[in-house]
């Protein structure tokens, strides 16, 4: 019996590229359309139980209690910073003030006990609140490392916005 070889020598087998290219381009269009550049996000953690625990006796506290108040104008722009008795003129100055109080060389264990209460005018824009939280919670070294300062941050009780004066 003679067996015939179906494939003739020298015959080229060609793959159909068209469906693959179709799908590949559809995938490409999908990824391009859904692509969105999103910047990285981070959190500032605050723990605020409804009934605040009583502060430790002063002799047990490593650092004195700190109060920060941010004032704002009617448009919500920051107009002043008050940290205990001092009035830093910028968030950078506030950060330096906190570094003086808490000390970057006091070790992480000591800094853990530092606590700050932040208050601000009702209208103050949230970006300034985050600016203040950034200034008190840490500092960045020239090498880009973050040195933590105050980790226990609390907000004070909100004050109702001032009612507009009757004409």
């Amino acid at each position: 019996m003679q067996i015939r070889n179906a494939n003739k020598a020298g015959e080229k087998i060609e793959l159909q590229m068209t469906p693959m290219i179709d799908i590949v381009f559809q995938l490409l269009v999908f990824f391009i359309m859904t692509f969105k550049i999103v910047s990285m996000e981070g959190d500032f953690n605050i723990r605020m139980p409804a009934a605040a625990p009583q502060a430790a006796p002063p002799e047990q506290m490593e650092f004195p209690p700190m109060n920060l108040y941010l004032s704002a104008d009617a448009e919500g722009t920051l107009t002043g910073i008050q940290l205990n008795e001092s009035q830093p003129t910028s968030f950078q100055a506030l950060n330096q003030e906190i570094q003086k109080l808490v000390g970057t060389d006091s070790g992480p264990g000591a800094r853990e006990s530092a606590e700050i209460e932040i208050g601000f005018d009702y209208d103050l824009r949230y970006e300034f609140v985050i600016g203040a939280v950034t200034a008190v919670s840490g500092t960045k070294t020239t090498t880009g490392d973050v040195v933590k300062l105050i980790e226990k941050i609390r907000f004070n009780t909100p004050e109702a916005p001032e009612a507009p004066e009757a004409q």
């Binding site: 590229m17 290219i21 590949v24 381009f25 995938l27 490409l28 990824f31 391009i32 859904t34 692509f35 969105k36 999103v38 910047s39 990285m40 996000e41 981070g42 959190d43 500032f44 953690n45 605050i46 723990r47 605020m48 139980p49 409804a50 941010l70 704002a72 919500g76 920051l78 107009t79 002043g80 910073i81 003129t89 910028s90 968030f91 950078q92 100055a93 950060n95 601000f120 005018d121 009702y122 209208d123 103050l124 824009r125 949230y126 970006e127 300034f128 609140v129 985050i130 600016g131 939280v133 950034t134 200034a135 840490g138 960045k140 973050v146 907000f155 004070n156 009780t157 909100p158 916005p161």
Partner: protein, 158 residues
């Protein structure tokens, strides 16, 4: 002079290999960069930036996200309402967390507030969450690629 006309009966084929190479590289690029955490963002919210806002090293296990727009609109899950009316939704979330065997006090409420929202609104929102039984909060901010404090001085000459 006799001009011989060339007859080419074969099919002319372009070389597709470089194009397919490039296309696959582009697909690989977009696949690697695709962000699956889009559900955490909201069009109403433009986060404030901070130089210390770094992505957390450990992923939050139990958390709920509240988006707060600058007009006071709060979005939690699929519900959108003014932040002052969020108590019912929070109570429901509290019961759901309890039902699933988790501790509501250990659940972090992630607040994604618009940078121009009033600070007092954020304070009130935290108070509403506290009243509902939540204790742990995370204020979300966008990473600031430029070093240094954005706000220089509130006092002229300061």
């Amino acid at each position: 002079m006799k001009i011989v006309k060339k007859h080419d009966s074969g099919i002319l084929e372009g070389d597709l290999t470089p194009m397919i190479d490039m296309t696959f590289q582009l697909i690989a690029f977009f696949m690697v960069l695709i962000n699956f955490t889009q559900s955490e963002s909201n069009d109403k919210v433009q986060l404030p930036d901070s130089e210390l806002a770094k992505p957390p090293e450990t992923v939050l296990e139990n958390y709920r996200i509240i988006h707060l727009g600058k007009d006071g609109t709060a979005v939690m899950g699929t519900k959108e309402e003014n932040y002052k009316g969020l108590r019912t939704t929070l109570d429901l979330q509290y019961r759901q967390i309890q039902f699933s065997g988790e501790e509501p006090a250990d659940t972090t409420i992630v607040i994604r507030a618009h940078k121009d929202a009033k600070g007092g609104m954020v304070q009130e929102l935290i108070q509403i969450c506290q009243e509902a039984g939540f204790e742990s909060f995370a204020l979300r901010a966008e990473e600031n690629v430029n070093n240094g404090f954005k706000y220089i001085s509130p006092v002229p000459g300061g």
